[in-house]
Symmetry: C2
Subunit: 163 residues, 2 copies
Protein backbone atom coordinates (compact mmCIF):
# COMPACT_ATOMS: atom_id res chain seq x y z
CA UNK A 1 0.00 0.00 0.00
CA UNK A 2 1.58 3.25 -1.16
CA UNK A 3 1.40 6.30 1.10
CA UNK A 4 1.30 8.45 -2.05
CA UNK A 5 -2.10 6.97 -2.95
CA UNK A 6 -3.45 7.88 0.51
CA UNK A 7 -2.01 11.36 0.14
CA UNK A 8 -3.79 11.77 -3.25
CA UNK A 9 -7.13 10.59 -1.82
CA UNK A 10 -6.65 13.16 0.97
CA UNK A 11 -5.90 15.72 -1.74
CA UNK A 12 -9.25 14.99 -3.37
CA UNK A 13 -10.90 15.53 0.03
CA UNK A 14 -9.05 18.82 0.49
CA UNK A 15 -10.35 20.01 -2.87
CA UNK A 16 -13.87 19.24 -1.68
CA UNK A 17 -13.21 20.84 1.71
CA UNK A 18 -11.97 24.04 0.04
CA UNK A 19 -15.55 24.85 -0.93
CA UNK A 20 -16.47 25.03 2.76
CA UNK A 21 -13.70 27.56 3.36
CA UNK A 22 -14.45 29.70 0.29
CA UNK A 23 -18.26 29.62 0.35
CA UNK A 24 -18.80 30.79 3.92
CA UNK A 25 -22.40 30.66 5.25
CA UNK A 26 -22.45 34.44 5.91
CA UNK A 27 -25.29 36.73 6.88
CA UNK A 28 -27.69 35.13 4.39
CA UNK A 29 -27.51 31.72 6.13
CA UNK A 30 -27.75 33.24 9.61
CA UNK A 31 -30.95 35.05 8.58
CA UNK A 32 -32.68 31.82 7.41
CA UNK A 33 -35.49 30.34 9.52
CA UNK A 34 -33.81 27.19 10.92
CA UNK A 35 -35.00 24.16 12.97
CA UNK A 36 -33.90 23.89 16.61
CA UNK A 37 -31.78 20.85 15.73
CA UNK A 38 -29.56 22.85 13.40
CA UNK A 39 -25.93 22.08 14.26
CA UNK A 40 -23.79 24.99 15.55
CA UNK A 41 -21.43 26.44 12.89
CA UNK A 42 -18.33 25.28 14.81
CA UNK A 43 -19.38 21.63 14.40
CA UNK A 44 -19.12 21.59 10.59
CA UNK A 45 -15.29 21.84 10.24
CA UNK A 46 -14.75 19.32 13.05
CA UNK A 47 -17.19 16.80 11.61
CA UNK A 48 -15.89 17.20 8.07
CA UNK A 49 -12.24 16.82 9.08
CA UNK A 50 -13.05 13.48 10.64
CA UNK A 51 -15.24 12.38 7.75
CA UNK A 52 -12.67 13.32 5.10
CA UNK A 53 -9.85 11.46 6.86
CA UNK A 54 -12.05 8.39 7.32
CA UNK A 55 -13.22 8.36 3.68
CA UNK A 56 -9.64 8.77 2.39
CA UNK A 57 -8.35 5.88 4.53
CA UNK A 58 -11.29 3.73 3.45
CA UNK A 59 -10.60 4.39 -0.25
CA UNK A 60 -6.92 3.68 0.30
CA UNK A 61 -7.64 0.28 1.88
CA UNK A 62 -10.14 -0.63 -0.83
CA UNK A 63 -7.80 0.47 -3.62
CA UNK A 64 -5.29 -2.20 -2.56
CA UNK A 65 -7.81 -4.93 -1.81
CA UNK A 66 -8.11 -7.96 -4.09
CA UNK A 67 -11.81 -8.04 -4.99
CA UNK A 68 -13.92 -7.88 -8.14
CA UNK A 69 -15.88 -4.93 -6.73
CA UNK A 70 -12.83 -2.64 -6.30
CA UNK A 71 -13.32 -0.82 -9.65
CA UNK A 72 -16.97 -0.08 -8.84
CA UNK A 73 -16.07 0.95 -5.29
CA UNK A 74 -13.46 3.48 -6.43
CA UNK A 75 -15.75 4.78 -9.18
CA UNK A 76 -18.43 5.38 -6.53
CA UNK A 77 -15.86 7.11 -4.30
CA UNK A 78 -14.91 9.45 -7.16
CA UNK A 79 -18.57 10.16 -7.82
CA UNK A 80 -19.33 10.98 -4.19
CA UNK A 81 -16.34 13.34 -3.84
CA UNK A 82 -17.45 15.24 -6.96
CA UNK A 83 -21.01 15.54 -5.60
CA UNK A 84 -19.57 16.52 -2.21
CA UNK A 85 -17.56 19.31 -3.89
CA UNK A 86 -20.64 20.42 -5.83
CA UNK A 87 -23.08 20.91 -2.94
CA UNK A 88 -21.54 23.79 -0.96
CA UNK A 89 -21.21 26.21 -3.92
CA UNK A 90 -24.80 25.47 -4.97
CA UNK A 91 -26.21 25.93 -1.49
CA UNK A 92 -24.09 28.79 -0.12
CA UNK A 93 -22.95 30.28 -3.42
CA UNK A 94 -26.17 30.25 -5.39
CA UNK A 95 -28.60 29.88 -2.44
CA UNK A 96 -30.42 27.22 -4.43
CA UNK A 97 -32.04 25.23 -1.62
CA UNK A 98 -33.94 22.92 -3.97
CA UNK A 99 -30.98 22.20 -6.24
CA UNK A 100 -28.96 21.67 -3.08
CA UNK A 101 -31.44 19.07 -1.89
CA UNK A 102 -31.25 17.26 -5.22
CA UNK A 103 -27.45 17.15 -5.09
CA UNK A 104 -27.54 16.01 -1.45
CA UNK A 105 -29.97 13.24 -2.38
CA UNK A 106 -27.62 12.07 -5.15
CA UNK A 107 -24.70 12.35 -2.71
CA UNK A 108 -26.65 10.25 -0.18
CA UNK A 109 -27.23 7.55 -2.79
CA UNK A 110 -23.54 7.59 -3.80
CA UNK A 111 -22.36 7.44 -0.18
CA UNK A 112 -24.75 4.60 0.74
CA UNK A 113 -23.75 2.67 -2.41
CA UNK A 114 -20.06 3.23 -1.64
CA UNK A 115 -20.61 2.03 1.93
CA UNK A 116 -22.33 -1.17 0.77
CA UNK A 117 -19.65 -1.95 -1.81
CA UNK A 118 -16.86 -1.08 0.65
CA UNK A 119 -18.38 -3.41 3.27
CA UNK A 120 -18.36 -6.19 0.66
CA UNK A 121 -14.65 -5.56 -0.01
CA UNK A 122 -13.21 -4.62 3.39
CA UNK A 123 -15.30 -4.50 6.56
CA UNK A 124 -13.24 -1.76 8.21
CA UNK A 125 -13.63 0.46 5.15
CA UNK A 126 -17.37 -0.02 5.39
CA UNK A 127 -17.36 1.01 9.05
CA UNK A 128 -15.23 4.06 8.20
CA UNK A 129 -18.02 5.21 5.84
CA UNK A 130 -20.95 4.76 8.23
CA UNK A 131 -20.53 8.13 10.05
CA UNK A 132 -20.59 9.77 6.61
CA UNK A 133 -23.97 8.11 5.85
CA UNK A 134 -25.31 9.45 9.15
CA UNK A 135 -23.97 12.95 8.51
CA UNK A 136 -25.27 13.22 4.93
CA UNK A 137 -28.69 11.99 6.15
CA UNK A 138 -28.64 14.71 8.81
CA UNK A 139 -27.53 17.35 6.26
CA UNK A 140 -30.28 16.21 3.91
CA UNK A 141 -32.91 16.59 6.60
CA UNK A 142 -31.55 20.04 7.40
CA UNK A 143 -31.51 21.11 3.73
CA UNK A 144 -35.11 19.90 3.35
CA UNK A 145 -36.21 21.72 6.50
CA UNK A 146 -34.57 24.98 5.34
CA UNK A 147 -36.27 24.63 1.96
CA UNK A 148 -39.71 24.20 3.54
CA UNK A 149 -39.20 26.95 6.15
CA UNK A 150 -37.86 29.50 3.65
CA UNK A 151 -40.09 29.21 0.54
CA UNK A 152 -39.48 32.77 -0.63
CA UNK A 153 -35.67 32.50 -0.86
CA UNK A 154 -34.54 33.59 -4.31
CA UNK A 155 -31.47 32.04 -5.99
CA UNK A 156 -28.43 34.24 -6.57
CA UNK A 157 -27.07 34.76 -10.09
CA UNK A 158 -23.40 35.69 -9.49
CA UNK A 159 -22.83 36.52 -13.16
CA UNK A 160 -25.46 39.28 -13.08
CA UNK A 161 -24.24 41.01 -9.93
CA UNK A 162 -22.28 44.22 -10.47
CA UNK A 163 -19.77 45.06 -7.72
CA UNK B 1 -15.55 -4.82 -17.18
CA UNK B 2 -18.87 -3.73 -15.68
CA UNK B 3 -20.92 -1.11 -17.51
CA UNK B 4 -22.17 0.09 -14.10
CA UNK B 5 -18.63 1.22 -13.24
CA UNK B 6 -18.44 3.26 -16.46
CA UNK B 7 -21.85 4.73 -15.70
CA UNK B 8 -20.65 5.79 -12.22
CA UNK B 9 -17.48 7.40 -13.62
CA UNK B 10 -19.73 9.29 -16.07
CA UNK B 11 -21.87 10.27 -13.07
CA UNK B 12 -18.85 11.81 -11.40
CA UNK B 13 -18.19 13.77 -14.59
CA UNK B 14 -21.80 14.93 -14.74
CA UNK B 15 -21.49 16.24 -11.17
CA UNK B 16 -18.45 18.24 -12.26
CA UNK B 17 -20.19 19.39 -15.45
CA UNK B 18 -23.18 20.64 -13.42
CA UNK B 19 -21.07 23.53 -12.18
CA UNK B 20 -20.73 24.77 -15.77
CA UNK B 21 -24.50 24.79 -16.15
CA UNK B 22 -25.24 26.44 -12.80
CA UNK B 23 -22.42 28.98 -12.67
CA UNK B 24 -23.01 30.66 -16.02
CA UNK B 25 -20.37 33.19 -17.15
CA UNK B 26 -22.94 36.02 -17.31
CA UNK B 27 -22.45 39.76 -17.80
CA UNK B 28 -19.49 39.90 -15.44
CA UNK B 29 -17.40 37.56 -17.62
CA UNK B 30 -18.45 39.27 -20.85
CA UNK B 31 -17.28 42.61 -19.43
CA UNK B 32 -13.78 41.31 -18.59
CA UNK B 33 -10.79 42.44 -20.75
CA UNK B 34 -9.96 39.22 -22.63
CA UNK B 35 -7.14 38.11 -24.99
CA UNK B 36 -7.94 37.64 -28.69
CA UNK B 37 -7.37 33.90 -28.35
CA UNK B 38 -10.23 33.51 -25.89
CA UNK B 39 -12.41 30.59 -27.03
CA UNK B 40 -16.02 31.41 -28.04
CA UNK B 41 -18.59 30.51 -25.34
CA UNK B 42 -20.15 27.82 -27.54
CA UNK B 43 -16.89 25.83 -27.58
CA UNK B 44 -16.86 25.13 -23.83
CA UNK B 45 -19.80 22.66 -23.63
CA UNK B 46 -18.64 20.84 -26.77
CA UNK B 47 -15.06 20.50 -25.55
CA UNK B 48 -16.09 19.45 -22.09
CA UNK B 49 -18.56 16.83 -23.31
CA UNK B 50 -15.78 15.16 -25.26
CA UNK B 51 -13.28 15.48 -22.43
CA UNK B 52 -15.66 14.06 -19.81
CA UNK B 53 -16.54 11.03 -21.95
CA UNK B 54 -12.87 10.38 -22.70
CA UNK B 55 -11.79 10.66 -19.05
CA UNK B 56 -14.63 8.36 -17.90
CA UNK B 57 -13.72 5.67 -20.46
CA UNK B 58 -10.04 5.98 -19.52
CA UNK B 59 -10.80 5.51 -15.82
CA UNK B 60 -13.05 2.55 -16.65
CA UNK B 61 -10.29 0.81 -18.62
CA UNK B 62 -7.68 1.50 -15.92
CA UNK B 63 -10.01 0.33 -13.14
CA UNK B 64 -10.09 -3.17 -14.66
CA UNK B 65 -6.42 -3.31 -15.63
CA UNK B 66 -4.01 -5.60 -13.76
CA UNK B 67 -1.22 -3.26 -12.69
CA UNK B 68 0.40 -2.12 -9.44
CA UNK B 69 -0.27 1.52 -10.33
CA UNK B 70 -4.07 1.16 -10.64
CA UNK B 71 -4.77 2.37 -7.05
CA UNK B 72 -2.66 5.49 -7.56
CA UNK B 73 -4.19 6.09 -10.99
CA UNK B 74 -7.76 5.98 -9.66
CA UNK B 75 -6.84 8.13 -6.64
CA UNK B 76 -5.43 10.73 -9.06
CA UNK B 77 -8.59 10.51 -11.16
CA UNK B 78 -10.75 11.17 -8.07
CA UNK B 79 -8.51 14.10 -7.12
CA UNK B 80 -8.71 15.68 -10.58
CA UNK B 81 -12.52 15.38 -10.76
CA UNK B 82 -12.84 17.10 -7.37
CA UNK B 83 -10.51 19.92 -8.50
CA UNK B 84 -12.41 20.09 -11.80
CA UNK B 85 -15.69 20.52 -9.86
CA UNK B 86 -14.09 23.15 -7.64
CA UNK B 87 -12.78 25.55 -10.32
CA UNK B 88 -15.98 26.84 -11.96
CA UNK B 89 -17.72 27.97 -8.73
CA UNK B 90 -14.54 29.74 -7.59
CA UNK B 91 -14.00 31.49 -10.92
CA UNK B 92 -17.57 32.29 -12.01
CA UNK B 93 -19.25 32.15 -8.59
CA UNK B 94 -16.76 34.04 -6.48
CA UNK B 95 -14.90 35.83 -9.33
CA UNK B 96 -11.64 34.89 -7.63
CA UNK B 97 -9.26 34.94 -10.58
CA UNK B 98 -6.18 34.25 -8.45
CA UNK B 99 -7.72 31.42 -6.46
CA UNK B 100 -9.01 30.07 -9.77
CA UNK B 101 -5.48 30.06 -11.17
CA UNK B 102 -4.21 28.19 -8.10
CA UNK B 103 -6.93 25.54 -8.44
CA UNK B 104 -6.28 25.26 -12.20
CA UNK B 105 -2.55 24.78 -11.52
CA UNK B 106 -3.34 21.98 -9.05
CA UNK B 107 -5.78 20.52 -11.58
CA UNK B 108 -3.09 20.66 -14.27
CA UNK B 109 -0.67 18.77 -12.00
CA UNK B 110 -3.35 16.17 -11.19
CA UNK B 111 -4.29 15.72 -14.86
CA UNK B 112 -0.67 15.42 -16.02
CA UNK B 113 0.09 12.94 -13.21
CA UNK B 114 -3.02 10.93 -14.08
CA UNK B 115 -2.00 10.90 -17.74
CA UNK B 116 1.51 9.62 -16.93
CA UNK B 117 0.21 6.89 -14.62
CA UNK B 118 -2.54 5.93 -17.08
CA UNK B 119 0.02 5.64 -19.92
CA UNK B 120 2.03 3.28 -17.70
CA UNK B 121 -1.07 1.12 -17.13
CA UNK B 122 -2.96 1.26 -20.44
CA UNK B 123 -1.66 3.20 -23.48
CA UNK B 124 -5.12 4.00 -24.84
CA UNK B 125 -6.21 5.46 -21.50
CA UNK B 126 -3.15 7.68 -21.61
CA UNK B 127 -4.05 8.91 -25.10
CA UNK B 128 -7.63 9.54 -23.96
CA UNK B 129 -6.26 11.95 -21.32
CA UNK B 130 -3.93 13.95 -23.61
CA UNK B 131 -6.63 16.32 -24.98
CA UNK B 132 -7.53 17.09 -21.35
CA UNK B 133 -3.89 18.09 -20.65
CA UNK B 134 -3.99 20.41 -23.67
CA UNK B 135 -7.34 21.94 -22.65
CA UNK B 136 -6.37 22.54 -19.00
CA UNK B 137 -3.10 24.14 -20.19
CA UNK B 138 -5.13 26.42 -22.47
CA UNK B 139 -7.59 27.24 -19.66
CA UNK B 140 -4.70 27.97 -17.31
CA UNK B 141 -3.17 30.39 -19.80
CA UNK B 142 -6.57 32.06 -20.22
CA UNK B 143 -7.12 32.33 -16.44
CA UNK B 144 -3.63 33.85 -16.04
CA UNK B 145 -4.25 36.32 -18.86
CA UNK B 146 -7.60 37.40 -17.37
CA UNK B 147 -5.95 37.86 -13.97
CA UNK B 148 -3.23 40.08 -15.42
CA UNK B 149 -5.62 42.07 -17.68
CA UNK B 150 -8.19 42.67 -14.93
CA UNK B 151 -6.20 43.56 -11.77
CA UNK B 152 -9.01 45.56 -10.17
CA UNK B 153 -11.59 42.73 -10.17
CA UNK B 154 -12.97 42.29 -6.67
CA UNK B 155 -14.07 38.86 -5.36
CA UNK B 156 -17.76 38.31 -4.67
CA UNK B 157 -18.94 37.28 -1.17
CA UNK B 158 -22.29 35.53 -1.84
CA UNK B 159 -23.07 35.26 1.89
CA UNK B 160 -23.03 39.05 2.29
CA UNK B 161 -25.26 39.88 -0.68
CA UNK B 162 -28.84 40.80 0.18
CA UNK B 163 -31.40 40.07 -2.53
Amino acid sequence: MSWLTLFVFLGACMAAATTGALFQPGEWYRRLDKPVWTPPDWLFPIAWTGLYIAMAVAAWRVAYAEAALVPLGLALWACQIALNTLWTPIFFGLRRLQAGLIVLSLLWIAVVATTIVFFAIDTLSGWLFLPYVVWVSYAGALNYSLLVRNPSEKPLLPGEIST
